[in-house]
Symmetry: C2
Subunit: 462 residues, 2 copies
């Protein structure tokens, strides 16, 4: 006896929400197609470690089809979704159109540049493996160019210095100014880890510069860092950042990014490496659905995560806008995405059995943010934790949830090694040896009178 | 009491030769500058593992300045050397000029395209981390595009097939044809490992194609594979390749490479992924010295590795052309480079002590080439070995010489894991999702009558 065709479920995006949904829905009598424009799932919470040369990409990312290999009713397609035809129940990709009975859209979010998309190449964000490698390239290259610059000055006698002490004067000092924009979890991680690299990881490796003279600036428009946490934890996080050597400037808006510099209010801060961790822009696919979205492009979903008028279309993860019981919007974090992925499987199961749907409720088990070596903050209900033990908790939870046993083992070894030696294992510069907008001629211009003297590190030492 | 300035030694290139030289010369009372256009030393013998997704770049490469951090009289510069002024004893880089008392040039070699540099983007070679990542991207992408293609055909009913069996017909089969040009050690490693990936690593991960239907062709112009080994070992290597599923074609010349295809004699072989492992072209810096070079651009050096007319300028590693006692040219392999690096330190030490120089002699301790999982050949003097034990010897020697204890540990874990599970840990596609010269329209054209029927895998199954 031939059974009738199974319902088709198409899942767009294999982040935490999409992947969890795929794994759970695969147990139902349905046919699942997962479409993603990348071949791999990225474990985003550890992406900053790739950007800061602590881990290799392969250690925090795994092929989607490998993760889902055990489910024979799941197929994975490497394609970009361009549009939807909700009336005909079709997903339109760059290659074909896919029919569905249930559609789950979980294509996530990226950073927003406050209406200035032209800043993106000048100040990369951190959402993909490619982003992380680009940030790594820029950070490592800045130290290399500073060493070259300083060695060149010494060789040609441009420095009047009679001492052999390594001093970062003018142009060299400017090369060692790093700016991170936005003090949410990603900005805090990046700034803290950059400070760790500058102050510890590369000691004794340079002959003409001293990496410890680097400045790491963390710029935040709001009044405090990690605004999603309590004021007490924000203050503790800021203290920990300062102890790691980060200069924190809250209530400062970035007004402009240009090649080799960032403007904070009216002040120009020359910097070869500006990193962007501010704002949220939802995936453009949200706007293709013809339903209301918020300012960031997130889709206002019903309490069952479906969209108005289409019970069979769900939006979840960072792309969804949904308030909790208290009217507070759910944050764009992994636990929300995972719980929604789990929950959607239950909803589809209930639909298949003709049972009424239930509304999604988020169970907040707490939040953790890491700041740097042995520094973190944790909010677990009313219980707050900061410092070494919060960091240990963060570490074990994140390694535990990392995909694949081999990856967990290797990341643990890398971490233990880094902790003991301060070394970072993946300090490779691949791609171009040029820094966008940072040329030799500009270096000299930056060093002339038009530079704000308060921001030149060389002056600070005077 | 102020001592007089130490002699300056400039080393160009931080491969096996340059790095060994730097480490040994650092113990002499000299000032050493190592110049390389990359920030990392690449452990070339394991580069094919990065290209075939077994290892991550960070596991086989390490920053040059990290490797040399303990030597305070060594500075490392990330710069590209453009030229030399041998009369004024200057090295000219893109940024500055460096004075030297001793100059060591070890900038290596790359692949030669038989006078067709335009083939390079179509058929990448394997010399750098970037090359390896590009090869990895193309190989993994071919499987993804084949799956997409096959899924699309099934969805749109293009196949007349009534069975649900996964068959690679026409266009899909063409996407699963991989061609490796050149059956030296690199070509043999690549072909053997590609066969392993196709036939084992991705089982049960695809729904519309069966990766085991891939064809891996190894094309060699000469009469046998691994021509540097004995005829007996060549034969055994060829047997092992065939057992792994590689089609070996010796005495076949590649006459043309075009987008999406390679021509062998008069036969056109459509292939989305053509890899180049043939020929040798020495670094162009060799020709800047104004002394005789061989056809590949290698510099004919004196028996003490200096160049004619300049006792203070040495060329070593793959860039040097030198014959052994029997008049046979030394091969471009790591042991030659390492022994030359060691030896050059001794020569400079003798010069500093005004002792006469000695001639370089290569001590051939044997050669090893790996073919794939549990397959290798070894020539140790008159003693020959092949198969599992040769592979074990190869494995332990290569892991032992890998730079850094942490790397050795992690590579060992990765290898043990891969051996037990057949899995490959670094299967990430980064960068573009397009295959050079391989478009949907071409796929259809390739499948029409002008294709040689003997090479279409779909036909083979008929």
């Amino acid at each position: 006896m031939e059974s009738k065709p199974r319902p088709k479920v198409v899942i767009v995006g294999a982040g935490f929400a999409g992947l969890t949904a795929a794994r759970r829905i695969a147990r139902l009598p349905v046919q699942v197609t997962v479409v993603d424009r990348r071949n791999h799932h990225t474990f985003q919470p550890l992406l900053y470690q790739v950007a800061t040369a602590g881990l290799s990409p392969g250690e925090i990312a795994a092929p989607i089809r490998w993760i889902l290999r055990a489910y024979s009713n799941v197929e994975v397609l490497l394609e970009e979704v361009l549009d939807f035809n909700l009336e005909q129940k079709k997903v339109i990709t760059s290659q074909q159109s896919l029919d569905y009975n249930f559609l789950i859209i979980a294509s996530g979010a990226t950073h927003a540049y406050f209406g200035h998309p032209e800043w993106e190449p000048l100040a990369p964000g951190l959402k993909t493996i490619e982003d992380a490698l680009e940030i790594r390239r820029r950070v490592l290259l800045a130290f290399e160019l500073a060493e070259r610059q300083a060695a060149d000055q010494t060789a040609t006698g441009q420095t009047n210095d009679q001492t052999t002490e390594k001093t970062a004067d003018g142009p060299t000092a400017l090369l060692l100014q790093f700016v991170v924009v936005g003090a949410g979890p990603t900005g805090v991680e990046l700034a803290g880890t950059l400070a760790e690299i500058a102050h510890h990881a590369m000691n004794h490796e340079f002959r003409s510069i001293d990496p410890r003279q680097s400045r790491i600036l963390l710029i935040e428009g709001g009044p405090r860092v990690l605004a999603a946490y309590s004021e007490e934890l924000s203050r503790k996080a800021e203290d920990q950042l300062r102890r790691l050597g980060v200069e924190v400037r809250t209530s400062h808006m970035v007004t402009r990014v240009e090649p080799g510099a960032v403007w904070v209010g009216d002040e120009k801060i020359p910097s070869p490496v500006v990193l962007w961790a501010a704002g949220v822009a939802a995936s453009p696919l949200g706007r293709k659905l013809g339903v209301p979205v918020d300012r960031a492009g997130r889709v206002f979903v019903q309490p069952d995560l479906s969209i108005p008028g289409h019970r069979e279309v769900f939006v979840l993860g960072d792309l969804a806008a949904l308030a909790d019981e208290n009217g507070k919007m759910l944050p764009g974090v992994a636990p929300v995405a995972i719980q929604q992925g789990d929950w959607i499987a239950e909803t589809i199961a209930r639909d298949l059995e003709h049972q009424p749907r239930r509304n999604f409720h988020y169970h907040d088990k707490g939040s953790l943010a890491t700041i740097g070596r042995a520094a973190a903050v944790a909010q677990l209900g009313k219980f707050e934790l900061s410092g070494y033990f919060a960091w240990l908790a963060w570490l074990f939870i994140h390694i535990f949830f990392l995909i694949g046993f081999r990856n967990r083992l290797i990341v643990m070894i890398q971490w233990a090694w880094s902790y003991l030696t301060y070394e970072r294992g993946a300090r490779l510069i691949t791609g171009s040896n040029e820094l966008t907008g940072w040329t030799q001629s500009q270096l000299h211009a930056e060093n002339s009178k038009d530079t704000d003297p308060t921001v030149a590190a060389g002056q600070r030492r005077a």
